[in-house]
Symmetry: C2
């Protein structure tokens, strides 16, 4: 088996999530990011605007460490879980995957809400979110549910991002 | 910006989708695939079994061409759309992304239903599918709906894969 696979970015995050809290942004869902797609790939965006949601596959290029086991969200009260059971950035391969709401596509620029990438993060792929990505009944561990409920209480997802998750 | 990003597989598809139709498999949802995770990453699987669905990020290493614009599913009656508006394998970066049902995790082996990768495909990452991946109201183009309805008539997704998509 080949040891390594290399990919060239198709674009980058031109306007990404602010790093400091002084921006007043406490959730990625409050923020519209802009992705710049390089000229040679621009034609590949044709028809993307007919999807309401898309996947951004990006490189977590400011990854600081790889941690195969850890507490999710750095919360010591959560159980120790493996990296493949969390969305932590400290992965063996620093590949970010985020479902975002598509705002619009204008020339080279794709505007999305909900991206958790910083400015200048390289983008490897954009894929449409379709019915094959929609799981009706899913099971998640209790540590995730606790995190979800806490964030939901803080941010009121139902109002902030009505399309999100099973919000009852 | 760095020109290229390289990733080493964390494992590979030990048992993948049969290539020929003589297997009787007409849908990836009829098939249980096995992913082998290399020893050094095995500990990263801890707790994965508490999720019912996961993402497999894999390399489409038998990609034959890159096609920036094409008819989805090779169907000439569908409109011409850009590669980023389809899940076609002929992408600038041959990265496969599939939501699958997790059957079980046993030592190095992750068993999943619904993976569209062939045997020996390299696996770059495994991520849990959680509420942030669940879009309640999504919009898809009519070409996708026509494809979906046709496949649903052929395969009866409601019976074959009850957790899938908005099936009314």
């Amino acid at each position: 088996m080949k040891k390594s696979f290399c990919f060239e970015p198709i674009g980058y995050v031109m306007k990404g999530l602010p790093k400091d809290k002084s921006s007043g942004i406490v959730s990625r869902f409050q923020f519209v990011s802009e992705i710049f797609v390089y000229d040679k790939f621009k034609v590949g965006l044709k028809g993307l605007e007919n999807f309401s949601h898309i996947y951004i596959i990006w490189v977590i290029d400011r990854q600081r460490e790889v941690k195969l086991v850890g507490h999710p969200h750095g919360d010591p009260s959560a159980p120790l879980v493996g990296i493949f059971a969390t969305r932590s950035p400290n992965r063996p391969n620093a590949i970010g995957l985020t479902v975002v709401e598509l705002i619009d596509v204008e020339n080279n620029i794709v505007r999305v809400r909900g991206l958790d990438a910083w400015t200048d993060s390289p983008v490897l792929d954009i894929k449409p979110y379709d019915y094959y990505d929609h799981v009706n009944d899913m099971r998640v561990p209790s540590w995730f549910l606790e995190h979800w409920n806490r964030k939901n209480r803080e941010l009121n997802y139902k109002k902030l991002v009505p399309w999100l998750g099973p919000l009852k």
